[in-house]
Each structure stands twice: as structure tokens, then as C-alpha cells.
């Protein structure tokens, strides 16, 4: 829906860019994109490698318009919901180029999106599956883990067994974001998803499988990746990788030199770790990319610090 007009479909006017089914970008947006790309190149040093790219315009997701710097759309993996099963829905965030919002892990500044869900009787929404972030450094030795461009946050929806084919379902998400460039603003967005219950899932939204592939896997399932805590450091090895990084959760042992040590070229990463008041376990996500890895690999990490 175009927020400006309140009508369904895309916002009218401007220069047509014609990416896929939906894709009209205003000239203003084009300039903003170019400025944003320059801003990303100049200030801050996040590598916007989220799938879809910084300025991707693709079917089915709203673009931020007017004063907005982030737009949120509720999407579904299935065209129709299957009763008695977990069906995946998601919050598709599109963030203005040059701006970012925050991951649900350790940040020096900023907080992740907060979503309040409204679902029909008998339906249940589970925890957000957080897509992997990019590191973002700021003056004053600060480090955040951020989302840029277009990011899908998947969420499981439990559909009751008693739901009948043809039932109409409406799901609402009231979102609060902090979205930042050099400055931060708080933005609220309401998104609604309307779909029906069916006998079969129908056509699947491919964004979900792509996002699923980027969710962290268990260490035991991560080919060629090992991690241990030794001599006051978390040591991670990823065979064949060109870059390895570690993104800690908030509830994790302290990593006092994360800014300098959290990312390394090559196959090996060493990050100093100390027990904190919060935890004696180092917890977070490992990223291994490049080299012989066709796709970046994300791995869940949870290791106890030896006493």
C-alpha cells in the first residue's frame, strides 16, 4: 500500500525503474539512493552484503517514503496457510540507503526492532529468527551490528488444527524501530497481512528459503568450522574462508577488544573473552565467507569459559 495515498499498490508518479512486478522509484528516491551510497562509502564502514543489495527494489515490499527511513511489510512464505502446522511469516524491512537499524545482539548504541503482534484466536506467533548483521564501526571506538538494505525477519506462525480451508486470517504487526544514519530517529510502522487458510501452501515466496539459508546453523552442522576457548580467547577456524567474524549476543561473556578483533582475514579468528557479570559463556554468531565458500556460512556459538 502506498502510505502517501492510502491506496493499495505502489505510489504513483516519478521515474519508472521497472524492477520486476512492482518498482516505481521517485526521482527523489533515486537521488537519495545515490547520496546514500556515497554516504555509506564515506562515513561508517558497514559492508552492506544483505541479500538484495542496498538499493534493491523487488516485488511485494514497501519502500520508505516521505520522511520515513524504514518501511515494514508483513509477508508470508505460503500463499495459503496450512492448518495444524508451523507456517512461516515475516517482517520485510526496507531501509533507506545510508541508514541502518539494529540486530538483536551486542550493540554499543541502538536497539533492535520491537514488534507487537495481533493474531486471530487460536493462532500463535513465535520468536523472531534474526537475520545475520553487518559490523558497523563509529568514531569513539564504537561498534554496532546492523541491518541495511532489505532484510527479512522470519517468524513462525502456529495455525490451529481446527482452521478450515477458506478461513480469512488477518495478522497485524505494530513495529517500533530505531533507524540511524549519523543521527537516529525512532519510527513506528503498522503492517497488516491478510490471507486465507488452504489445503496446500500454494506458491512459496522464495525470499523465505533465501533467508532460511542465512540463519545460523548449529556448530555440529557447520562443515569445516571449529571453535574453542583457549588462553583467554575464543578461537574460531573456518576451513577455506577468506574472512571470519564473530557477532556476540548481549547475554555473552565480555569481549573487550571486539572492535579490533571481531573480524579477521583468512581462516582463523581470535577474540579475547572474559567472564562478565552477565555470563561465563561466550554466545553469538560466527560468520565465515569468501574463499572456497560459495555462500557465507553462519554458525551458532555457545561455549563455556574454562574456570
Amino acid at each position: 500500500m502506498c502510505k502517501r495515498t492510502g491506496l493499495p499498490g505502489v505510489c504513483p508518479g516519478g521515474v519508472g525503474f521497472g524492477f520486476g512486478v512492482v518498482g516505481v522509484m521517485e526521482v527523489r528516491d533515486l537521488i537519495a539512493t545515490l547520496v546514500g551510497l556515497l554516504a555509506v562509502a564515506g562515513a561508517g564502514s558497514a559492508v552492506p552484503h544483505v541479500d538484495g543489495g542496498v538499493a534493491a527494489v523487488a516485488a511485494g515490499a514497501e519502500q520508505p517514503d516521505g520522511d520515513e527511513h524504514i518501511a515494514a511489510t508483513l509477508v508470508s512464505e505460503n500463499a495459503t496457510l496450512i492448518p495444524g502446522k508451523t507456517n512461516w511469516i515475516g517482517l520485510e524491512m526496507v531501509i533507506e540507503p545510508g541508514w541502518h537499524t539494529y540486530w538483536n545482539g551486542r550493540n554499543d548504541s541502538g536497539t533492535p526492532p520491537v514488534v507487537k503482534w495481533t493474531v486471530p484466536e487460536g493462532y500463535k506467533v513465535g520468536e523472531i529468527r534474526w537475520a545475520p548483521p553487518a559490523r558497523y564501526k563509529m568514531a569513539g571506538d564504537m561498534l554496532d551490528h546492523v541491518y541495511e538494505g532489505r532484510v527479512l525477519l522470519m517468524v513462525p506462525l502456529e495455525v490451529p488444527a481446527g482452521a478450515k480451508a477458506g478461513d480469512s486470517v488477518e495478522i497485524k504487526a505494530a513495529c517500533t524501530f530505531v533507524v540511524c544514519q549519523q543521527m537516529c530517529v525512532m519510527e513506528k510502522a503498522d503492517a497488516t497481512l491478510r490471507l486465507s487458510v488452504g489445503d496446500s501452501p500454494g506458491k512459496l515466496n522464495p525470499r523465505f528459503e533465501a533467508a532460511r539459508k542465512r540463519l545460523p546453523v548449529a556448530m555440529k552442522d557447520a562443515k569445516g568450522v571449529t571453535a574453542k576457548v583457549e588462553g583467554g580467547a575464543l578461537v574460531v577456524e573456518a576451513k577455506g574462508a577468506e574472512r571470519v567474524a564473530f557477532f556476540p549476543y548481549e547475554e555473552s561473556a565480555a569481549t573487550p577488544k571486539l572492535l579490533e578483533q571481531g573480524e579477521a582475514k583468512g581462516e582463523k579468528l581470535a577474540v579475547s573473552v572474559e567472564p562478565s557479570k552477565a555470563s561465563r559463556r561466550v554466545r553469538g554468531v560466527v560468520e565465515a565467507r569468501g574463499g572456497t565458500l560459495k555462500e557465507p556460512l553462519y554458525v551458532e556459538l555457545d561455549l563455556e569459559l574454562p574456570r
Binding site: S109, T176, M183
Partner: protein, 239 residues
Amino acid sequence: MKAKALLVIVAAMFAASPVMAQNKSAEKPKETQPDKKDSHKDHDHKKDKEAKKDDKAAKAKVGEKAPDFTATDSQGNTVKLSELTAQGKIVVLQWFNPDCPYVVKHYQKGQPNTFNDMATKYAGKDVVILAVSSNAPGTQGSGVERVNKARKDWNITYPVVMDEAGTIGKSFDAKNTPAMAVINKDGTLAYFGAIDDDRGPDKPGATNYVTKAVDELLAGKPVTTSETKAYGCSVKYKG
């Protein structure tokens, strides 16, 4: 007036120069054997050794003497921390950016005005509240004009110390607005971290760590929660 302010800022920078001379070299973690004996004792000893080599130890630590500063507030008055503590005052520092949502939430109608309420609570007591603006010129919420407008709009009675070079902020390792410091009248940093327990951009939290700490200090008691992780927008340091 401006020359005097410049002199004060230069003096403050000179005073803080050991803090500013930092070697930012990426150090590899040290290879040491974990000691299986009294691990708590040995851990602190290891930390002291590393602290001497780590330049960042020059920054304020809770339980140690807070770094002194002399600066000018947004109305042109000189403020010196050690003078205030010498007068027997407990000093509360509030890192300030009037355009940061995590700061704005504390000044909204219809919900608690955390900082103004705190100023009212401690009026007439030996407590001084100072906001600190460490944002570099040209960044969000920076500059005397913007700060004075916020003071006016929000009926802020306490001063805002101008720290545009970021010296004071860096000496306290303040990363956020609002980050908070509480300095006891003996000059010790008694609390550092968040203002309260709601880390979001919407509303103040139920537990105010700063008033808790100040009340304990006023009663001559030790501070039970002396350190939390601050929240908020990043301080927009120079460079």
C-alpha cells in the same frame, strides 16, 4: 568571552592529554595458561598486568577517582568537577543529545520526565546535575544553539557542559546518550551506565539506577548497583 572559553577548553585538553595520547594498535590476545588455583584472585592479578599495558586503562573506572575536567556550559559559565566535589557535592553527569530518541523519551508529556524530576528531587541537597554535550560540531543535537533551545523547550534548569572536542566524554568512556556517571564527593566514580532499565526509545524505565545510587551515597551507604551497560544513540565524537 569566546577567548576565555577557548583557553578553558585548551586547558582541559592539556589536562586530559595523557588520555588523548592513545596507541590504537590491534593487540592479539595474550597466550597465558589458565591458573587452576584461586582463579578469582589470579584473574584480578592478570587484569592489572594487562591494564598497565592497555592504554584504555587511562579511562575512568568505577571505584576509582573520576577524571577531573574544567569546561564551559552552554550559557558561558565555567564548570570544574573537582571544585564541586570539594564543596561536598555529589555530581551527576548526563550525556546529552536533544535529538536522540533515547534522550527525547525522558522529556515527553504524559510520561515521567526522568531528568527534570531528578533535578526537582535533589534541589536544595548536595547534588549537582550536569548534562554534557560531547557531540562534535555539525552532528545531531550538537552546538550551543540547539542545546539552549532544548533547555528552553523542556524547562531544563541544570547546565549543559559543552564538550565538543569529546575530551570529557572519552575520559569517561561515554558511548551513549544518555550515559550516566555519578561522582561521589570524594571524587570517586560511584556509578556508570544507563539511567534506567528500559533500553528502548519509547518510555522511561521503572528502575532508575542513578537516583538509587545518589540516594545510597546521600545516606552514606555503598552503592549496590555501581555499573550497568548504558543505552542510547552513540555519542557523535569528532573524527
